[in-house]
Symmetry: C2
Subunit: 109 residues, 2 copies
Amino acid sequence: MGLAKTEIFTDLQNEIAVIAKAFGHPARVAILQHLFKMDTCVCGDLVSEIGLAQPTISQHLKELKLLGLIKGNVEGTSVCYCIDSENWTKMKAIISQFLDQDLSNKNCC
Amino acid sequence: MGLAKTEIFTDLQNEIAVIAKAFGHPARVAILQHLFKMDTCVCGDLVSEIGLAQPTISQHLKELKLLGLIKGNVEGTSVCYCIDSENWTKMKAIISQFLDQDLSNKNCC
DNA sequence: TTTGTTCATTGCAATATTACGATGAATAAA
DNA sequence: TTTATTCATCGTAATATTGCAATGAACAAA
């Protein structure tokens, strides 16, 4: 039905899924990488940097902002985006904990 | 259009997105967590463990298997799934590298 | 062989996602 | 004020995802 049955999963499982979903599109990965690469914040360079239309980039930025991974500040007519380092660190911890599960003698079958 | 323009992104960006997408559903997160928790492999316990119908679980397992995150071995009428530790390590490295980007003085705006 | 068990596959309905043109809001420059 | 620039939002088309009932395939037990 296109909609996940979130109510049957734990908060952590849902949280991991929501964060991972944000990374689940190459455009959002590219946006985040670019924001990391630039020492200072970037604005609509993202549109020319990545080859997608402006509304499309704007939509991806909105999702990342909604999740809290990035922040956006208005500067005149342009908007400056940057990584929200505090939230990034939190999310990284959640994902890392999931990825770092013990792999000892897990090569069964 | 519901379809990502993968051709305009780098291989790494697409790879990160594909892996993250696999983690982007709580059912798949739950499946992986369960496979990690069990010392030995699990089979269709996943269906009763997670509250989804058998075809739905089977479909999620298929995606995880296709990506290489898990392996499935037939044992009589049942199928035993487990983490593919080698591939898990590889994917973990790719995601970790993405998550570990430098955050120094990235609190602009 | 027949029956039951386990799992995969198919087909479908409901919803989500992606992408973009058109448009609007806000500000800066002329 | 007029015009240009930058970005967000709306509306919509195309496609993807999620979930399950129905069914099929493979095997084990009787």
